[in-house]
């Protein structure tokens, strides 16, 4: 891309890829050594007299990466093809990938990870998963479009974010499951037994000092290697295409695609803050204080991970890597073509209701009608959306109490007011994915659209 051909691009990536595979090899061999030395190696299969353990597996993996390193260094198109994702696979991914697939896929993936968490937190499985994701990234780097997005100085932190978030989520889940298993056996959590204390001075302060020095050095190197992306002078009549918010606001920008700016920019962010501040008043579960656990506060854990991982982080990842010019959705291996045509025709709910289902024009006040009459006609026009929205926020909480024993317990524990606050916060959170799916699936623009008074929802 950007004026240079495939060969030049491969030469550019080659240096990075070679080092990358060498690092992966070193990583796996270190793991093999550690597992071997510490005696934590697990036996996989028994081959004759000797047993193959995970130590052997990591060593083998390290050797494979070591062999891949010179291929990566070569910079030759034919050789590089050996360490690339196959073209057909890329095509399939590009065609299959869309906002719906991405978001629903993320939900399904997270649900699978949660349900099978006891399997996925095993260190061996997690290590394989890490290797697989790193390998996939390395193999994809030979694709110019993928490399272009991932190597952009703005986006490098997001790549780091994905891996770090995966690691820390895994770590939390690992510790939680350890404690949950202990709780089943009637043991106190690990944190309760590890009551050894260290001194703030010098132990903690030295650690902090060393961390500070290393982090500063790291930031210096980063700042020198990855230049700050400066753009042309700002102009009120020229908007960069695509125009992206800072990475940590990309979730908000994605939310703005589905809502009125007043809603997605003011009301919902305020609601997020209010909801977070309300947690201490809504959470009556005293367990899980000071130690990791999932089983003892499953509802809180699931809700937090849903709001954070799905509604914040996956939206950031989507906004960073998958949103291109004109805010169109692009697959990870797709060229960012500013003229990509997406046939969309988003329609308000009132239009669906009156025109498509009832086959009649939308109600409209005659010209020159008074303000009150115009307003009444607008409300009448938007009545399907208003009824739907009010019903969603007012009736669904009650339906949950009637239909689910869990929510009935919540209601009994919390009382009407606290329960309604909790339920409405949850429903507002759920409204975002619902709205996204309605937009992608049915081209629905707004449930309630009153552009005359800037009220769109």
């Amino acid at each position: 891309m950007h004026g240079h051909n495939e060969a030049e691009f491969l030469k550019e990536v080659a240096g990075f890829l070679g080092v990358y595979y060498l690092a992966l090899a070193a990583m796996n061999m270190t793991a093999a050594l550690y597992v071997w030395k510490s005696g934590k190696a697990l036996r996989i299969v028994k081959l004759g007299g000797t047993a193959a353990t995970t130590a052997h597996l990591w060593l083998l993996l390290g050797l494979v990466f070591l062999l891949m390193a010179p291929l990566g260094f070569s910079g030759d198109a034919a050789t590089m093809r050996l360490v690339s994702v196959p073209e057909s696979f890329r095509e399939i991914i590009n065609v299959a990938m869309g906002p719906m697939v991405y978001t629903v896929g993320s939900v399904v993936g997270l649900v699978v990870l949660f349900v099978l968490r006891r399997f996925f937190v095993k260190p061996t499985v997690a290590w394989i998963g890490l290797n697989a994701s790193l390998l996939l990234m390395g193999l994809s780097m030979t694709d110019p479009d993928f490399a272009d997005i991932v190597r952009k100085a703005d986006n490098v932190p997001i790549v780091g974010l994905i891996f770090m978030l995966g690691f820390f989520t895994w770590l939390g889940a690992y510790r939680a499951i350890e404690n949950d298993d202990r709780a089943k056996r009637g043991l106190p959590p690990v944190e309760a037994e590890q009551r050894e204390k260290v001194l703030v001075w010098p132990d903690l302060v030295y650690i902090e000092l060393i961390c500070m020095v290393f982090l500063t050095a790291f930031l210096l190197v980063w700042a020198i290697v990855l230049k700050a992306p400066l753009e042309e002078p700002a102009s009120a009549v020229k908007t960069p295409n695509p125009s992206k918010a800072p990475w940590y606001f990309l979730g908000l920008q994605e939310m703005l695609v589905y809502y009125d700016p007043w809603m997605a920019g003011v009301v919902l962010p305020s609601l997020i803050i209010v909801g977070l501040a309300a947690i201490p008043y809504l959470d009556f579960n005293k367990k899980g204080n000071g130690y990791y656990t999932i089983d003892e506060r499953k509802f809180a854990y699931v809700m937090f991970q849903f709001g954070f991982l799905l509604l914040w982080v996956t939206l950031i990842v989507m906004g960073t890597f998958l949103r291109g010019p004109n805010w169109n959705f692009f697959g990870p291996y797709e060229t960012w073509d500013p003229h990509k045509v997406e046939a969309l025709n988003n329609v308000d709910l009132s239009e669906f209701f009156w025109i498509r289902w009832l086959h009649m024009p939308r109600p409209k006040a005659p010209d020159g009608a008074g303000i009150l009459r115009t307003l009444a006609m607008i409300v009448y026009r938007e009545s399907p959306g208003i009824v739907l929205l009010v019903g969603y926020l007012a009736i669904v909480p009650h339906a949950l109490v009637l239909g689910s024993r869990f929510f009935r317990d919540l209601f009994a524990r919390m009382g009407f007011l606290r329960y309604m606050v909790l339920a409405n916060l949850l429903l507002m959170m759920m409204l975002l994915p619902i709205k996204m799916i309605c937009r992608w699936g049915f081209n629905l623009k707004y449930f309630v659209a009153i552009p005359e008074y800037m009220l769109n929802f």
Binding site: V237, Q253, L256, D260, W327, H339, E342, L344, E452
Partner: protein
């Protein structure tokens, strides 16, 4: 008390006359001399401007009496209990009494009057004779009338009373002798020093005419004479530069606003279905010739997305305006059809000017959802 510092000519003259009269006829002031006259004089000074300025001229040794009037004890010490006199007043009274005693009665009074009392006496004399520029007599009772009835206290006893801070008031010499108290020996009384001339009577010194060189030298001395001066000078310079920079900041280096009313060529310049984008950069306007509601017309669309205010791009291939921020799309006529934009693009007012060109007026906007596109001011029929 409006004119504190200056005596009027009349007062000065009166003072001079009184001085002469005092020298010639010492006995005229006698009854005030053996009374506690200086204190009333001081309190008198409190009341009348002339007297006060006169008391300022008192020599340093007689400073204590001056502090007396500052206290609010007011006009009539004779009528008040002696214990309430301040030490300074008592001292002043003692000194005055001693002087009066020491010398022969006539000249003593004159001499006593000379150092500090002279203008006072003059003022008093004025007050008694009813000359103008005087305060009401209630505030400054004349000592001559106030004193006669009371027993005249002895100065030493006043001092002793002051020193001991004793409740009982001062007593006369005879009473002291009767009580067996020690009587302080009288100090030898020398002639009191002449008071300095008041500042306003002194001839003004003329500053020497500064030469240019000395002027600049003194100027440089003020600016750089000491480290403090250097510090303040640099502070001043810094502030000056800052103020200049701030003034410059108020006139930023930007292009001025383009005119809000401008011409965009003749209607015949626009072909069917044309979207003219060359006015976007300067004016933020698309001039479009297209159909809206079955009527072909030329109109000016504002290049601001109705969702969040980015500038959409005109995509010729797809025949739509597409916003890069959140993906809102608009048809050629400005109607929103995709993405989150809640309402169509806005139109500006257009008209055919006198020279036949299209004139766009950005000060008027027309919103479709408000039904304003029916206004003929926002399109030119073709």
């Amino acid at each position: 008390m409006s004119d504190k510092n200056k005596m009027s000519v009349a007062e000065i003259l009166a003072a001079a006359r009184a001085e002469k009269a005092g020298a010639a006829k010492p006995t005229s002031d006698a009854n005030s001399a053996d009374g506690p006259s200086p204190v009333p004089a001081a309190s008198d000074a409190h009341g009348s401007p002339g007297a006060e300025s006169a008391s300022e001229t008192a020599p340093p040794e007689t400073a204590p009496p001056e502090s007396g009037p500052a206290k609010p004890i007011g006009p009539a010490p004779a009528a008040m209990p002696r214990a309430s006199m301040s030490v300074a007043e008592m001292l002043a009274a003692a000194r005055a009494g001693k002087k009066a005693e020491a010398g022969p009665s006539g000249s003593a009074a004159a001499k006593r009057a000379e150092p500090k009392g002279a203008p006072n006496a003059a003022a008093k004399a004025q007050a008694e004779t009813g000359t103008p520029a005087k305060k009401p007599p209630a505030k400054s009772p004349s000592p001559g009338t106030a004193t006669p009835g009371t027993a005249t206290p002895d100065t030493t006893s006043i001092l002793a009373a002051a020193r001991q801070a004793a409740k009982p008031g001062p007593i006369s010499k005879a009473q002291a002798a009767a009580l067996g108290r020690p009587v302080a020996p009288a100090k030898p009384a020398g002639p009191p020093p002449m008071p300095e001339r008041p500042a306003h009577l002194r001839p003004r010194e003329r500053a020497p005419e500064p030469s240019r060189r000395s002027f600049f030298a003194s100027f440089a001395g003020v600016l750089f004479g000491s480290s403090l001066a250097v510090g303040f000078s640099s502070l001043f310079v810094t502030h000056l530069l800052w103020a200049l920079g701030f003034a410059r900041f108020m006139f930023p280096n930007i292009l001025t606003e383009p005119p809000t009313i401008f011409k965009v060529g003749f209607p015949s310049d626009y072909g069917p279905g044309q979207v003219e984008t060359k006015y976007v950069a300067q004016f933020g306007v698309w001039v479009v010739r297209s159909e809206y509601n079955g009527q072909t017309s030329i109109y000016a669309l504002r290049t601001v997305c109705t969702h969040l205010g980015c500038t959409p791009n005109w995509l010729e291939g797809e025949q739509k305006f597409k916003c890069p921020c959140h993906g809102s799309g608009f048809y050629k006529d400005g109607i929103n059809f995709e993405g989150p934009a809640p309402r169509p693009l806005e139109r500006y007012a257009v008209r055919v000017a006198d020279d036949g060109q299209i004139e766009v007026d950005k000060s008027r906007k027309f919103n479709e959802e408000m039904g304003q596109w029916k206004d003929p001011a926002c399109y030119i029929p073709v």
